[in-house]
Amino acid sequence: MKSVDYETDFDLDAPDFPESFDEISEEVLEKCPVVHSAALGGYKVVFRDEDIRTVAKDWQTFSNRFGYEPNRNGDDNARLFPLEIDPPYQARWRSVLGTHLGARTVALKEPSIRAHVNDLLNGFIEAGECEFVEQYASQLPGRMFFSTFLHVPLEDLAYVQKATDEAVSIPIAEGESAEEYGARRQAGWNRVAEYLEEYMRRREEEPPRGDIVDSILQGVEMEDGEPAPWKHKLFVMLDVLAGGMTTTTFVLAGLAHFLATHPEDRERLKADPSLHTNAIEELLRYYASILALGRTAMTDTEVAGHQVKKGEMLMLAYSVGCRDPKIYENPNEIIIDRPITSNLAFGWGSHRCPGNSIARLQMRVTLEEMLRRIDDLQLAEGVSSISHSTVTRNWDSLPLKFTPGAVESVDLDAGRR
């Protein structure tokens, strides 16, 4: 991407963007706050913290109902709600999710999360080495969703995980057209939808448990006062699942990468747990997992002095906004005690991530248990790599080594209500 003019030819999926993320972010933040891309049928990208917040907050001018990325093909079998709808209908579904995803409710799940964290660490602690993404970071979010929240068998996890990856995190292939890529992602969504639909039908027949699934099945009213149709309930389940998987995988891998590469900070965090909360905010900023999410302009307008035409898609590059030097001095460094006044990593406005408390809790428990159980953590031989897929940043592999430790007993039913 080095030789191209960012202003007119920026590509979120360019293969060198992940490896040169710091440099490219620095350059666009300084020189071109809004760029145009010819890729995937054309879109614009907004980079600066202030501009992202302005657009994200203005849902009347910048709608979500035409999809979250440029090549959503309008296939109505698997959409994501409330991500792909606008207020006021969107706000009703957000209230339903809020009941189950608020910080206090989520805190009740801590014993279950801690048990899964330790069970996963048990899986490789005696070996003194692991491939952290495969053995931990990609596993924990799925266990949260399926085991801690839905109580469904862990055996089903691999299948749904793979389908979700195809829908969200697998990058565009060399020589693949925008249409082919879009169709491949949609096929992944359809497989996830099929699985969840079967689960929801089963739950509809069972006595209610008072959990998030029951609330979604109960539903809300649409704008015309009619009850939300079955499909919309499925779309909400899809969003809850999709929103929490690859995104959390990325930040968990980031946390381990940080611990392996910053031994002095590791000692500080071990000695002083009061640093943990802020350190986690800083890691969420630095390893922000949403590369960009889209809005569609409802009218001809202007963003940071750039003309935007009605119908154009604006990708809000949250991960780049998190590196804005106007907000953070030395933004490409991890400074665990720097003040994070308002974390853009979870988005902004009415679509800000409703699962943020679950992500923060998984980060905190992972940090605590890794500091407690794993000594002398280092990067191991092998490839540690990141890729991009239009909307997410993905950690493909992270080989680590450490002093072998002992397996501990774990009660995976801990904290079940």
């Binding site: 209230s95 809020g98 009941t99 995803l101 608020g102 206090r104 308002s342 800000r352 409703p354 408390s357």
Partner: protein, 69 residues
Amino acid sequence: MAKYMVDEALCQAHGKCYAIASKVFGPDSDGYEKDAGKGWVEIPPERLADARAAESACPETAIRVIEED
């Protein structure tokens, strides 16, 4: 009429809203906004400016203030 809503999934008990607009917002026993997750709450007209200031100050954009005829 003006009203506000606090998104329960977003409120992290920073406490900015009730520091700025204590006549509109308030803490529950854990410091979260007391009406988080309770739907729309009416704002007396003379408190609208305070409520707007609190909306802008929330670090999580958990507060939505709207005015309707």
